[in-house]
């Protein structure tokens, strides 16, 4: 399924965990430091450099090369999302993002915030940075460069970005939770195999 940004609440509510999608449009990168600063801005009532309502946030620290006045993406795979767990529910509520791309999944408070506010989590294949970069057609702007290249906030234009798996949907369902349940039910057998 192809999705085009910005996303509406209806767009994301229609997705179901396990669906495979690709994205066209604009995505914004943000990791630990960006979340910290954005929430600080929110507390101080300051505006972010970008309006994130209906936007897609990508947990990613891309490798960019600056060639003259233009940035080029060399590699742009996802980073581990759970590092942003403590900040994400507030981030979703305050900034109104509709989808978050990352790897490894996020915890229950984030799953709940996604169900409440209408947001989905799209799992990107961790480390598949070159394919990701091939899906990025243009680096439109790079803000907060003082945070260092991996932590800066980039506005990226993407085309057929993916494949992405809807791993947490906007109805409180999570593929990670399902896998956890499967692992838990497999565990007695695994332990038996190992004699422990």
């Amino acid at each position: 399924m192809r999705l085009k940004t910005p996303l509406s609440e209806k767009d994301v509510r229609s997705l179901k965990f396990g669906d495979e999608v690709t994205l066209d449009g604009i995505i914004y990168t943000g990791r630990d430091e960006m979340h910290l600063r954005a929430l600080e801005y929110a507390r101080e009532g300051r505006e972010l450099p970008f309006d994130l309502h209906g936007a897609v946030l990508c947990h990613c620290g891309p490798m960019l090369r600056n060639e003259g006045s233009k940035w080029h993406v060399i590699a742009a795979g996802p980073t581990t999302s759970s590092r942003m767990d403590s900040m994400e529910p507030q981030f979703i509520e305050h900034f109104g993002v509709r989808a978050i791309i990352g790897k490894g999944g996020m915890s229950q408070p984030t799953v709940d915030a996604m169900a409440k506010h209408g947001c989905v989590y799209l799992a990107h294949t961790g480390g598949a940075a070159v394919l990701a970069a091939e899906g990025i057609k243009d680096v439109k702007r790079v803000e907060w460069q003082d945070l260092g290249m991996p932590e800066a906030m980039c506005e990226l234009e993407v085309e057929s970005f993916g494949p992405l798996i809807v791993a947490i949907d906007a109805h409180g369902e999570s593929l990670y939770k399902r896998v956890d349940e499967t692992v838990a039910s497999n565990l007695p057998n695994v332990r038996k195999q190992l004699g422990i």
């Binding site: 396990g18 070159v130 394919l131 290249m149 798996i165």
Partner: protein, 290 residues
Amino acid sequence: MLGSTKLVEDVTVNLLRIAVTSLPDDVLGALRDAEREETSEVGRTQLRTILENVAAADRLSVPICQDTGMLTFFISGRCLPDLEEGIRRGMSRATSEVPLRANAVHPITRKNPGNNSGKGVPTIHYDYSDSDFTQVTVMPKGAGSENMSVLAMLTPSQGLKGIKRLVLDTVIKAGGKPCPPTIVGVGIGGSADQAMLLAKQALLRPLNIGNPDQQLAALESELKQALNLTGIGPMGLGGKTTVLGVRVEEAYTHTASLPVAVCLQCWAARRASARIARDGSVQYSREGFW
């Protein structure tokens, strides 16, 4: 022969380029086998994406993953003067030439100098011997997998069962975070620091080379089979490919201790080695010289 600092600098740049833009044949082969055998559809999509990504990186000669990691160097054989200086220079040159992502930051202020250099980086382990060549091996390792490392000071009575339990718990707890399928390095014995080094060194042994110790070889395959029954799967999205292999190394330890370290390596299990001969000629290998 070039001045040895310059030679080591050039070798380091070449090594890093080889290491971060391609995968060793044993790892690639294991990923291909896994893609053929994976039964979960989502899991297969992940493995296919990984393989397409590796092919694209190779075609474009760019890093396979944006996290080019922190670098650990293993030096063995003949001692070369100014080796460390050569490695440092090579590393900072590679950061802009390959390029590598500038990952190294101050541990507390988190300030990033932007060139991957700073106090204590890169990590270099030396194992000099009387040899005709100097061997330099580099392992770039991303934070996603490194952050899942575990060191446990087990009691001797916990024994082999305790070791297996620790490995299983570590892999389950890590879930999708270290970008599975992973390679699991296990260091048993020694002191606390030695156990972790063994676990990391274990990751250098190619997946198609078994452990020369029969007992450890059996433990490796037993753990591999069991871990692949957990159902964690590629990227933790479910499936039967959770690990590509388990590598175990051991060392004698204190009679009252049983240190065990587990070091997970992501599917992007990058490594490369170079042999520098006395005459300055250099041989490279992604798999290492085994």
